[in-house]
């Protein structure tokens, strides 16, 4: 039930209007960071205040909401944000990727391909891809304005010089539609290819940094790399121990203090769906063992 002390989806209508204006601008200029007047939310910064505001501005009473945290539907961040919108908006919620119309995510893109009409909302801690290379905001804005992105490659150069390969494994910088370099939020680089030519709308909200940016459907996103060190989407070289999936992103779980570990899909909905369909991995109950 909706708590009548709040407006629908917590934020007042004027605030939602302001955020929608920023969203429209962000969609019109893919990859460009649009400033917006981020509000204080009833949760700490770092818990997805940016994503929550974007979700609140997009929600309608007919929407079906899914919230994931590192791929999982049942971790603290996901549970608390889902409850927040159940209480303040009274919308239907789901764990099934295919049934959701809005998916708020922290650090993952669902394994199941998204379809037209869905909105994926990312929580972003630091929207500026150049931040750790150039601390001055005035300067990074100028660099975006003038398309001076050589510095981004300096970071990749340093990776190869130090580790023999591009060691950046999450928040891997991308170039959007041949123009803006964008931080895709801390998703693993395994997910980077899914950013490109995706039929869903992808929205990014950074609450503390007060920035919104977006990828409209079917827009081109290229991961930066060198000719002789091309981008590779990497994952742990294992299969899921529960559902046996070979091509999903895996979490490594330590199971005892004697070196025992298991690998499981980080996308819990994907994994559960496969198990329900009869797939079984190495450690699945009643599986091949």
């Amino acid at each position: 039930m909706t708590d009548q002390a709040y407006n629908f989806a917590y934020l007042d209508e004027q605030t939602k209007r302001m955020i929608r204006r920023a969203l429209l601008k962000a969609l019109a200029v893919p990859g460009y960071q649009v400033p917006f007047a981020s509000r204080e939310m009833p949760m700490p910064y770092g818990w997805g205040t940016g994503g929550v505001q974007v979700t609140a501005a997009c929600l309608t009473p007919e929407d079906v909401l899914k919230v994931i945290d590192q791929g999982a539907d049942d971790t603290t961040n996901a549970v608390s944000i889902r409850k927040f919108f159940q209480r303040t908006a009274g919308v239907a919620v789901t764990e099934a990727t295919g049934e959701a119309t809005i998916i708020q995510t922290r650090h993952r893109i669902p394994e199941q391909p998204l379809k037209a009409g869905q909105i994926l909302v990312y929580q972003v801690p630091i929207p500026e891809p150049l931040r750790f290379l150039e601390p001055r905001e005035t300067e990074t804005r100028k660099m975006h304005e003038l398309e001076e992105y050589g510095l981004m490659h300096v970071k990749l150069y340093e990776d190869i010089a130090r580790h023999g390969q591009i060691a950046t494994s999450y928040a891997y910088p991308v170039k959007v539609e041949g123009r803006y370099v964008m931080d895709p939020s801390p998703i693993p680089k395994f997910d980077n290819p899914k950013l490109s030519v995706n039929p869903a709308i992808q929205l990014f909200g950074a609450g503390r940094e007060q920035r919104i940016y977006a990828l409209p459907p079917f827009c081109n996103v290229v991961s930066l790399d060198f000719d002789d060190h091309p981008f590779r989407a990497t994952k742990a070289a294992h299969d899921c121990d529960l559902c046996g999936a070979k091509d999903s992103y895996l979490d490594e779980v330590i199971t005892d203090d004697a070196g025992g570990r298991m690998y499981v899909c980080s996308d819990t909905d994907f994994c559960a769906g496969r198990q329900a369909a009869g797939h079984a991995g190495r450690l699945a109950a009643g599986g091949k063992a």
Partner: protein, 260 residues
Amino acid sequence: MSIVQRMAPDTPLLQVDGLTKRYGARIGCADVSFDLWPGEVLGIVGESGSGKSTLLSCLAGHQPTDAGRIRFDGRDVLAMSETERRRLARTDWAYVHQNPRDGLRMGVSAGGNVGERLMAVGARNYGDIRGKALDWLGRVEIAADRIDDRPRAFSGGMQQRLQIARNLVTGPRLVFMDEPTGGLDVSVQARLLDLLRGLVRDLGLSVIIVTHDLAVVRLLADRLMVMKSGRVVEQGLTDQVLDDPQHAYTQLLVSSVLQV
């Protein structure tokens, strides 16, 4: 003589006309005019506060000017869009700061520092970038095995040489130098000057060098401009100005140098 000089070009590389910069009511530099020809080294000397650093940063586009014209290679620099000016600044121009910390990225390895300008103009092949970086480290006498060290681990002289390599890697035609030997001890200074003189001659660079050290301009500069209170009081060939100073201030400057 460099190749460029022998070709005897008929237009100056840089033409400066009536350049003026004011800080409120005070004068930074006033009515400075000169031509710089390809392959020529111009020294600018003067005491602290004489406007020589102001002049250099105006020329390099680091701060806006109030009046005057700057033409580089026939193009009006002040009328350029910022995109063009910044592209010029990372291809045809180079700027060597007095303090290497201002010109280097201290958190990035030596190779990354040298490679940055290459990547900024579109180099996307790691092997090529690294090869060029190694080549340039060699040219400025930095051992190849230091390529992955951060500049923090380098001595002051090495940092300055690294800054020079980083600036020259894209083959600029015009180099601005602001007291490149400041803060270095004399033996390191001597080696750096030697290196600079070799590079300038081999690459046919045009250089504008600001310094208060007359020995530096004696060694490097073809021509000399003496500044006082924001104005040029005397200019001419280096030896001529230093051996036969005409203006009272230049006489004072030259006679103030300690003879060892």
